[in-house]
């Protein structure tokens, strides 16, 4: 004779039933929207935001993205861009709250969850970051970017064997990537495997010869392996590459100062003084492409077209990915009746930009 359910077992079944009812009554996740769903108004806001971003005006970028996000609240790309902008403004806590709010409506938005995980890393909330990023790797097992980031945060937590496993999996399943290989090399060093670390770092450097972290760690690696001459050579290369990077960071900081000074004057209609503020940095920032672009814009504001053209030309000569400079040149060439040059500039402006964002300034 079958046993009758005992009282506790009966309660257990009731619990499951209630849980099932609770799940059924939970509101369905709102549907995510995408670029094709955007209204012209949203598209216009995003275009303005992109321009503001390229000019380094993060506050305006944030305002425009907030408006776009309000008009398209279920668009994960806009949510990601707003979060990125908040992070760059050093408003990481706001970024975290923004992502959490979006995820409360769209728990399946894995890329937003990954962005939340990265923001939590920046906030030093590493264990929480692991939880979110690991969930993304489960939801999107093919996303090696998520796996790579999981490896990084585990490594930062000192959980070296776990980190190594994730990084190795990511490396195995992705096209060779210098950042991933560098992180894997560093983690291998930490795990006490300098020979494999050296090979991995060498591979990273074959893809990106000026990779500063890879050069630094390869030098250390060779040192530990007793390969003294190779260590010296790697560290010399590191010093050179590091010096170049430091120079870039110095120039970027200087550029930000020049831009802020000029912007504050331009905002109150003092275009000549705004131009003068930039020109004060002419010598020290001559080789910084974004400075030349900014100078072009200031010349335009001051009605000095020929000098503007020259500045934009200098900008694209130093960095061909500066689409704003190409676009400005297209218009200026057109006005000057130089149709061929205008066409080429328009084509260059339409090319996808490889220009990475400027790292945000540490105050």
């Amino acid at each position: 004779m079958p046993a009758r359910p005992s009282r506790p077992a009966g309660w257990w079944l009731v619990g499951i039933l209630l849980l099932a009812l609770g799940c059924r009554s939970r509101p369905a996740e709102a549907e995510l929207t995408s670029a094709k769903d955007r209204t012209p108004q949203v598209q216009s806001l995003l275009a303005d935001a992109a321009r503001a971003y390229q000019r380094g005006n993060l506050l305006l970028t944030q305002q425009l993205l907030l408006k776009a996000g309000a008009a398209a609240p279920d668009d994960p790309d806009i949510a990601l861009d707003l979060g990125d902008t908040l992070n760059r403004l050093q408003h990481m806590e706001s970024a975290r709250q923004h992502y959490v709010e979006f995820l409360s409506r769209h728990p399946s938005a894995s890329q937003v969850r990954l962005a939340l995980g990265l923001t939590l890393m920046g906030l030093g909330r590493w264990e929480e970051a692991v939880n979110h990023i690991r969930r993304v790797t489960r939801e999107l097992p093919q996303d090696q970017n998520a796996r790579f980031n999981l490896g990084i945060v585990l490594a930062r937590l000192g959980r070296t064997p776990e980190a190594l496993a994730e990084l190795r999996r990511a490396a195995k399943s992705s096209p060779p990537d210098p950042a991933l290989l560098t992180e894997l090399g560093i983690t291998l060093m930490r795990a006490g495997e300098p020979a494999e670390a050296a090979k991995t770092l060498e591979q990273a450097l074959s893809l990106d010869p000026d990779n500063v972290p890879a050069l630094f760690n390869l030098g250390q690696c060779y040192g530990r392996l007793g390969r003294v001459d190779e260590a010296r050579e790697a560290l010399e290369r590191f010093s050179l590459a590091s010096g170049r990077r430091e120079r870039y960071i110095d120039e970027k900081r200087l550029f930000r100062a020049a831009q802020a000074r000029s912007d504050s004057l331009a905002r109150v209609g003092k275009d000549e003084q705004a131009l003068g503020a930039l020109l004060a940095y002419r010598d020290s920032l001559a080789d910084f492409p974004l400075f030349q672009q900014e100078l072009g814009v200031a010349y335009l504001r001051a009605g000095r077209r020929q000098e503007a053209i020259a500045a934009f030309e200098r900008a694209v000569a130093k960095d061909s990915s500066l689409t704003e400079s190409h676009a400005q040149l297209a218009g200026l060439y057109q006005q000057a009746g130089e149709g061929d040059k205008a066409m080429r500039a328009r084509q260059a402006a339409a090319r996808p930009s490889s220009q990475g964002p400027l790292p945000s300034d540490t105050p």
Binding site: S34, A35, L46, A49, A50, D77, L80, D81, D84, T85, N87, Q90, H91, M92, E93, Q111, L114, A115, L118, T119, G122, L123, G124, W126, E127, N145, F148, N149, I152, V153, A155, R156, L157, G158, I186, R190, V212, P213, L215, F216, N217, G219, Q220, G223, R224, L235, F238, S242, D250, R253, R261, D263, S264, R267, S353, G356, P357, P359, T362, P363
Partner: protein, 566 residues
């Protein structure tokens, strides 16, 4: 999903955020009972640091100041000296503003004796200090770094000091920060390293901040050029010679805030580690011939794990992982982590920050003064870091970093892994303040190491260690005979309960600060026997047997037995 707008990559966010190291150790920490009680008022210490700030935001305002623990009257009780700043042009003048020397009365109380002692450093914008017996006459002299000419106070042996800065030749006039004494040339007197920070004068002040928002802020050190540090050789006649160039320490790339002498390669002479702000650190190996070789790059101690120079502030060295070698620790700015460099014993170091669990807790904090010390006498060094941001308006730039920050107390779990336990260790750790200087002393002679702190623009603090005292300890006072009288630079190996520990007698560490010069070891449950091996700066190695437990013992050079003899 495509990213049509800004093209920001998630990979790049990592670089942006400088996420370089967090961590709680994965394994459980041992039970922790550390307790520190703020006894500042009860002890009669009433020192208020005044930066002279009046809105101009001179960079010097936010950098001070240090604290020195030393026994100025040689009565066996550690006294305290707090460095003071000075009025600045726009600030209301205060002719009475001065540093403060507090004499330890031995009953838990201190009495200020600055005036009679003559060490007020009046009119000088003080930064840091270090104490040592520079003339080997049996009492501790005091060196004070200033924004402007530094000060050397010679101890007269009667409770008073004489300012001998000029005649001794150590009145370096740059912006002095760290000071550290050691006998680098093994000639039986202590020499002096002085770290200098930036090529800054009030006339060279730059206006920094966010122009668009009309925010005036303290400048990043990149706004100013670096200046060279100085090594002074003690001539043994009350004067010093600047030997920076011939010793190989002339370096125009440093922006020094921290310095420590330590024999990292255990070859019997002291080497020098220098923490620099926003440029690489320097590690100088002593060549044993009066010169040094910079070995920063190959040692791996100059940069973060990603090869990035960081904002080095305070430094300390200790054998964190029990392998008998000195490891290095440097505190840093927020968005960087405090770095632990583990000594591999072959001239190289491994960045052990993450594995030790010291990265994550420090990520959002600006660390300054720091010290390794066995706070619970359980046979491993714990770690204190005092925090506080550089920028008093940082909240205008960031929504997750604050100007006032709480201090950190890290407990070592015996394997070189640390867990931050400040919040459970006393009310001070729940306070937000602007930490700068920090030192360790045993002011109440109970064998539990106490802590003294300075705050920028705030009141100094004294924390009494009230951790339940179940563990045993040994404290050593060194007396050099052939070596410098303080025995500075001596390497001590203690064996008790089957465990070996190492320590060095130093002068100058942390941030702008100096400790009491006693060498302290926790013994855990072991009540002996305790054997101590001393390697003196003179080269003499000797063993002291049956060193008494739970008390301070004096080891006099030459009074031990040869190692290995019975």
């Amino acid at each position: 999903m495509t990213r049509p707008l800004l093209g920001l990559s998630l990979f790049s966010i990592l670089a942006l955020l400088h996420c370089s190291g967090p961590a709680q150790p994965h394994d459980a920490a041992k039970p922790v009972t550390l307790q520190f009680v703020d006894v500042t008022a009860a002890a009669g210490i009433d020192f208020l640091h005044r930066s002279g700030a009046a809105g101009t935001k001179y960079l010097i305002e936010t950098m001070g100041s240090g604290v020195c623990a030393f026994d100025y009257d040689a009565d066996g009780k550690t006294d305290l000296y707090f460095v003071q700043s000075a009025p600045l042009p726009e600030a209301p003048t205060d002719p009475l503003l001065h540093a403060a020397l507090y004499r330890n009365l031995g009953n838990g109380k201190f009495s200020e004796t600055t005036g009679p002692a003559g060490v007020g450093n009046p009119g000088r914008y003080g930064m840091g200090c270090a104490a040592a017996d520079v003339d080997n006459d049996g009492d501790e002299d005091l060196y004070v770094t200033n924004f402007g000419p530094n000060t050397l106070y010679r101890n007269n042996g009667d409770g008073t000091f004489t300012d001998v800065s000029r005649q001794s030749g150590v009145d370096n006039s740059l912006w002095g920060t760290a000071a550290a004494f050691a006998d680098y040339d093994s000639d039986s007197d202590v020499d002096l390293f002085v770290g200098n920070y930036l090529d800054f004068t009030l006339a060279k002040h730059k206006r920094c901040g966010d122009v668009a928002r009309n925010l005036v802020s303290y400048c990043h050190p990149d706004a100013y050029e670096s200046v060279p540090n100085v090594l002074y050789r003690n001539n043994g006649d009350g004067t010093f010679s600047d030997v920076t160039r011939e010793a190989g320490l002339w370096n125009l790339e440093g922006k020094t805030l921290g310095a420590i002498w330590t024999d990292y390669d255990q070859d019997g002479d002291v080497d020098l580690f220098v923490a620099n702000d926003s440029v690489r650190n320097f590690l100088y190996r002593n060549n044993s011939d009066g010169t040094f070789t910079e070995v920063t790059l190959e040692s791996g101690t100059g940069y973060s794990e990603e090869g990035r120079p960081e904002a080095g502030m305070g430094v300390d060295a200790a054998d964190v992982d029990g392998d008998g070698r000195m490891d290095l620790f440097v505190t840093h700015l927020s968005n960087e982590v405090n770095e632990l460099y583990l000594n591999n014993g072959n001239g190289t170091f491994t960045n052990g920050t993450n594995v030790a669990g010291l990265g994550g807790p420090s990520l959002l904090y600006v660390g300054w003064g720091t010290a390794f010390f066995d706070a619970d006498n359980d046979v491993d060094p714990d770690l204190y870091v005092t925090n506080g941001h550089v920028m008093d308006d940082i909240e205008a730039y960031s929504d997750f970093i604050t100007y006032r920050e709480r201090d950190h107390l890290f407990v070592n779990n015996g394997t070189g892994r640390f867990v931050e336990r400040g919040l459970a260790a006393g009310s001070l750790f729940r306070e937000q303040d602007v930490g700068r200087g920090m030192t360790v002393l045993d002011f109440d002679l109970d064998g539990r190491l106490d802590v003294a702190l300075t705050r920028n623009g705030g009141r100094a603090r004294l924390l009494r260690n009230e951790t339940p005292a179940s563990n045993h300890w040994v404290t050593l006072r060194l007396r050099g005979v052939k070596s410098n009288r303080d025995g500075i630079g001596a390497w001590i190996t203690l064996t008790a309960g089957g465990k070996r520990q190492v320590a060095e007698r130093r002068s100058g560490f942390s941030y702008l600060s100096d400790s009491d010069g006693l060498v302290h070891f926790g013994l855990g449950a072991s009540s002996g026997p305790v054997e101590v091996e001393a390697r003196w700066p003179s080269g003499l190695m000797e063993t002291f047997r049956a060193v008494k437990v739970d008390q301070i013992s004096t080891l006099t050079e030459g009074s031990g037995v040869a190692p290995g003899s019975r």
